[in-house]
């Protein structure tokens, strides 16, 4: 891929926000060391949304935390490169890493209630990025924080700045978290399931907010979710993860219209559709493999309707084809047709 790339349909030229290459995370668990993220690579363009899609436990959050440098001690990044503006986040000094946290890269967590410090006023929490990175006075930072709150649509920000997180509703809390993350106009924003805990009406508000901020700040947004519909509506490109690996990537419209990987296809088919009420849904049998007993070959082999002998022995590589890429032995033929 080139430094500059053109969007599938349009002609707009976009800048690369972040490039992740071969990211591998090992977990040192009591039962032994396992690979939770296995050679994940993707590129996030500024002003665009990249969706990381996958079922619970497939390693989405682990990837996000590895990128943000927030892994638990149990986890260790063993390979990979995370490149933002020519700097490899995994190689820079601890101090430099801190300097980049905020202006270059920031993250929004799934559970807004626990991600906000329960005992610190939200105004103070929102002011922190300015205090840390711009060394502003408490007063000036507070003013910025209030501006920020207004920016994300919190009514009466002056008085609400002195409230505590529990005094906000779930949607408001999520707005606060997002506000904190975009405070320093980061180049890359990782949003780890920002709406999973929210109601549909609130989810719609938050997603709209994210989209607005993305445009205003020209951020590369990495949206982590397991909701196909959200991906369909919000993302430009999608990377489908399964068992710690990316099994398929591509522009959302194309991937959803014509999924190449049987897993993606399975997922799309299990969505209940209005038409056939009460009908048998087609579902993916079984559940994802335990990290400790990932079979050799393709991790999806046990659930795959197209499983072949080669799937049990050889691990399919992620093969790029134009905008899209897929890791499946059975899809290789499809690729050729494509």
């Amino acid at each position: 891929m080139s430094e500059r790339t053109s969007e599938s349909g349009g002609s707009a030229v976009t800048t690369i926000g972040m490039r992740v290459d071969g990211l591998t995370v090992d977990l040192h668990t009591p039962r032994g060391t396992v690979r939770a993220v296995d050679g994940v690579s993707f590129i996030a363009h500024r002003g665009r949304t990249l969706a990381l899609l996958g079922e619970s436990g497939c390693g989405k959050s682990m990837t996000a935390q590895a990128v943000a440098g927030l892994l638990e001690p149990i986890a260790e990044v063993t390979h990979g490169e995370i490149d933002i503006d020519g700097e490899d986040l995994l190689k820079v000094s601890r101090k430099r890493r801190r300097q980049l946290a905020g202006p270059a890269l920031s993250i929004v967590f799934q559970d807004a209630l626990t991600a906000l410090n329960p005992v610190v006023k939200v105004g103070v929490q929102l002011a922190e990025p300015y205090r840390i990175h711009r060394r502003m006075s408490a007063k000036a930072a507070r003013a910025e924080a209030i501006e920020l709150m207004r920016h994300v649509g919190i009514p009466e920000p002056e008085s609400r700045a002195d409230s505590y997180p529990h005094q906000f509703s779930g949607g408001m809390r999520q707005r606060l978290l997002i506000a904190m993350a975009v405070a320093l106009s980061p180049k890359v924003l990782i949003a780890d399931e920002p709406t999973t805990a929210l109601d549909v009406t609130v989810q719609a508000q938050i997603l709209a907010l994210l989209a607005r901020l993305r445009k205003e700040h020209d951020m590369a947004v990495i949206l982590i979710t397991h909701d196909l519909s959200v991906v369909a509506e919000e993302a430009d490109t999608v990377a489908v993860m399964y068992s710690g690996r990316i099994v398929e990537t591509g522009p959302v419209t194309e991937v959803f219209e014509e999924p190449l990987h049987p897993y993606t296809r399975g997922l799309l088919e299990s969505v209940p559709v209005d038409a056939d009420r009460g009908a048998h849904l087609s579902s993916i049998p079984g559940s994802p493999p335990d990290l400790f007993s990932i079979p050799p070959g393709c991790p999806y082999q046990a659930r795959c309707p197209l499983v072949m002998d080669v799937c049990r022995t050889d691990r399919p590589a992620l093969i790029t084809h134009g905008d899209r890429a897929v890791a499946c032995h059975a899809a290789e033929g499809v690729h050729d047709d494509h």
């Binding site: 040192h28 668990t29 009591p30 039962r31 032994g32 590895a66 440098g69 927030l70 892994l71 638990e72 001690p73 149990i74 986890a75 260790e76 990044v77 995994l90 190689k91 820079v92 000094s93 601890r94 890493r97 579902s283 049998p285 079984g286 559940s287 493999p289 335990d290 400790f292 007993s293 046990a302 659930r303």
Partner: protein, 315 residues
């Protein structure tokens, strides 16, 4: 019909074994050995120690330690009555344990049952139980000790009774807090929907979950009880001779601290070593039984001291 699940069962064999996890923490391993020795001595000490532990020879009064001239029993020296200190320590182990263990068990059982009952039912039962616990906690336990020892004659049973009463609130509070939380859990609600009576719910669902926490508290409390018993001895209302406990030995030997230091230092050391071992083992058990913490015992040592964040330094 829907398809049966294909997931292979979790490999049992790869679950970390307790013994391996114990080996992984050398301090806890040593602590376990120490406690085993203490337990052994508590059971068999009296017979091993022999005559010299109970019948002294005034000629050997205040014999200095670390010499085997008078037999191994006198390796740690002799006390004022010329009894072997080592033997006394061994005999005292039994008394010390037969005070502290029953205290811990009694207060655990009473405190835990009341606490779980109060926490499960909430409402006035909870309020009353907590206020009673407050009363016991703000009561001068020494007064209680004097009263009990006045009304009943001073005996190990009375000491156990006093100490147990003063420790009940500790378990009561913990058990209440945990069961108040558990009673709102869904699986308890589920049991309610079958019409299960509250006693059965507490037995089946609350007890098994609260117990591990309570046992950890109990281990830590063990240390407190030994100290409290020695404080009672300091005031002269603890274990009564000819019974002997570590606490009593420390208390009686304090006058000789400057001349025959071993009379109080060695039993004091016994208390410290035992309680530190119990604490070490308890904190190990807490980690080992918590799936979220277990990695500390199973990850290679090199990684354990790592910072909570993974930040790779410039090579």
């Amino acid at each position: 019909m829907t398809t049966a699940q294909e997931t292979p069962p979790a490999p049992e064999a790869s679950k970390p074994s307790w013994f391996r996890m114990l080996l992984a923490d050398p301090l806890a391993f040593i602590a376990a050995i120490v406690l085993l020795i203490v337990a052994f001595v508590a059971v068999f000490g009296r017979s091993i120690a022999g005559e010299t532990a109970t019948n002294g020879d005034l000629a050997l009064s205040r014999l200095a330690p670390f010499s085997t001239d008078h037999g191994w029993q006198y390796f740690l020296g002799g006390d004022l009555l010329g009894r072997s200190l080592l033997g006394r320590l061994m005999v005292a182990t039994q008394t010390t344990m037969s005070v502290s263990i029953p205290v811990v068990i009694i207060s655990l059982v009473i405190g835990a049952s009341v606490g779980m009952w109060a926490g499960y039912h909430r409402g006035w039962r909870e309020t009353v139980a907590m206020r009673v616990a407050d009363v016991v906690l703000s009561f001068p336990s020494l007064l209680m000790a004097v009263v009990v020892l006045y009304i009943f004659s001073p005996s190990i049973a009375s000491i156990i009774a006093i100490l147990a009463v003063t420790r009940i609130p500790i378990y009561l509070r913990t058990a209440r807090a945990e069961s108040a939380e558990l009673q709102s859990r869904l699986f308890v609600d589920a049991a309610r929907t079958f019409g299960t009576p509250s006693g059965a719910i507490i037995r089946r669902h609350i007890v098994p979950i609260v117990l591990p926490t309570l046992l950890t508290v109990a281990t830590l409390d063990f240390c407190y009880v030994m100290l409290a018993e020695s404080s009672l001895s300091f005031l002269g209302i603890g274990v009564q001779p000819p019974d002997v406990s570590w606490g009593l030995m420390v208390a009686q030997g304090r006058d000789q601290l400057r001349t025959q230091w071993w009379l109080s230092v060695l039993p004091g050391l016994a208390i410290v070593i035992t309680t530190v071992s119990a604490n070490l083992l308890a904190s190990w058990a807490r980690i080992a039984s918590d799936p979220g913490q277990r990695w500390r015992l199973t990850t290679p040592r090199r990684r354990r001291a790592a910072r909570p964040t993974i930040v790779l330094e410039k090579a």
